[in-house]
């Protein structure tokens, strides 16, 4: 039982480390390029901005969920 917990904890830490690298890359690449465009959209076309905001939020959530699920499977060798 203790061995299982230690393995799970270790897998979680590795997962968080990989995830942190991916998120930092994401901050600098995606948000940097999207920032100006979204700002322009927010000031000039609010309805388009509202639609794009929801699509971005849902799209990112689906993508991140897939990434974390993939990492979980990869590191623990089984589906959660």
């Amino acid at each position: 039982m203790k061995k299982d917990t230690a393995t799970t904890f270790k897998a979680l830490l590795i997962e968080l480390a990989i995830y942190a690298v991916l998120v930092i890359a994401y901050f600098f690449l995606v948000l940097h390029f999207l920032g100006d465009w979204l700002y322009q959209l927010e000031t000039q076309r609010r309805y388009t901005y509202a639609g794009v905001a929801i699509l971005l939020i849902i799209g990112q959530a689906v993508l991140l969920e897939s990434v974390t699920t993939f990492l979980l499977r990869l590191l623990r060798g089984r589906s959660e």
């Binding site: 948000l31 905001a53 939020i57 959530a61």
Partner: protein
């Protein structure tokens, strides 16, 4: 990091950590977590209107992650969630109108504060009493880990009586194990949750999740997962209306969701290891935190 839409400087790590904490709570309890996210965004100087709108956008993303995970665990009743979304959106509009009426009457803050304190404390008191009672009743029974999803409540008889209420059309919810319940009861529960969502802000999961368990008779794990799915729809609607009014900084919400994606998965997976009454008992402090924030705001005059 500079966020041009809200003209604010916030460290992205702070946002990711806040998102992570709310993600864990949301994944485990099926709540939006606005009672933490709102004050956390205000604490770093985000204007109040942006804190509310951006929080809703963040709730959408976090709920997508948590609901997807709950769906994989078989904890989402899509039919129930879709029906409830209609009632919630309608209720949220009525709640928002009530806010406008109170604004005109000039006693908005006092009424909203007193109602929310009474609601939060009432829910906490009732749930702690019910969970302890259920726990006492089930003492002596040998609970196997495989049965962690099986649910029982000291108030199951209330849900059974409500299910017997014959107000057509009757809806069958096989995923939730409910043979027949009136559509009007489902819409009523969602509508009341929506009123509180519009009236007090946030997703009002702290009202809807317990209501699904005690009134509709939905097992706790399914109530958590279905509530999250329902929140995706109602919070998307809220995000759209707030974004049109210029209250959403989507960049902040996107950064918060990077932390929430991990937290929500951890929270959702954790529900597998706890039985329904234990989840409900662990839920008790959440509305009390909300009550404490409102009491502080009321007494100090500072909005957190």
């Amino acid at each position: 990091m500079y966020f041009p839409i809200s003209d604010s400087h916030i460290h992205p790590l702070y946002l990711a950590i806040v998102g992570f904490l709310i993600g864990v709570l949301g994944g485990f309890f099926g709540v939006g977590g606005s009672f933490i996210a709102g004050p956390a965004l205000r604490a770093v100087g985000l204007p109040w209107n942006f804190a509310i709108g951006t929080d809703l956008a963040h709730i959408v993303g976090k709920s997508v992650v948590a609901a997807k995970r709950h769906r994989a665990l078989g904890n989402v009743d899509l039919k129930l969630g879709l029906i409830m979304a209609g009632g919630t959106i309608l209720g949220a509009e009525v709640g928002a109108q009530m806010i406008q009426m109170l604004k005109r009457a000039g006693n908005l803050n006092l009424v909203v504060s007193l109602v929310s304190i009474a609601m939060y404390i009432g829910i906490s008191a009732f749930m702690s009493w019910e969970s302890w009672k259920t726990h006492a009743l089930s003492k002596g029974r040998k609970a196997k880990r495989a049965d962690s999803k099986s649910d029982h409540s000291a108030f199951s008889h209330i849900a059974r009586s409500i299910q017997k209420l014959h107000l057509p059309p009757m809806i069958n919810l096989p995923v939730s194990g409910v043979k027949a319940v009136s559509l009007w009861v489902i819409l009523g529960v969602a509508f009341i949750g929506g009123i509180f969502s519009g009236f007090l802000g946030g997703g009002a999961g702290y009202i809807r999740m317990p209501a699904m368990v005690y009134i509709l008779g939905i097992p706790t794990h399914l109530a958590v997962g279905t509530d999250l799915f329902e929140i995706i729809l109602s919070a998307s609607y809220g995000t759209f209306t707030h974004a049109v009014k210029g209250n959403v900084d989507v960049l902040i919400a996107l950064v918060m969701n990077t932390g929430a994606a991990v937290g929500a998965q951890i929270g959702a997976i954790s529900t597998q290891y706890f039985a329904g009454p234990k989840i409900r008992l662990a839920f008790v402090p959440l509305p009390l935190i909300g009550a404490a924030i409102v009491i502080y705001t009321l007494m100090s005059g500072h909005k957190l």
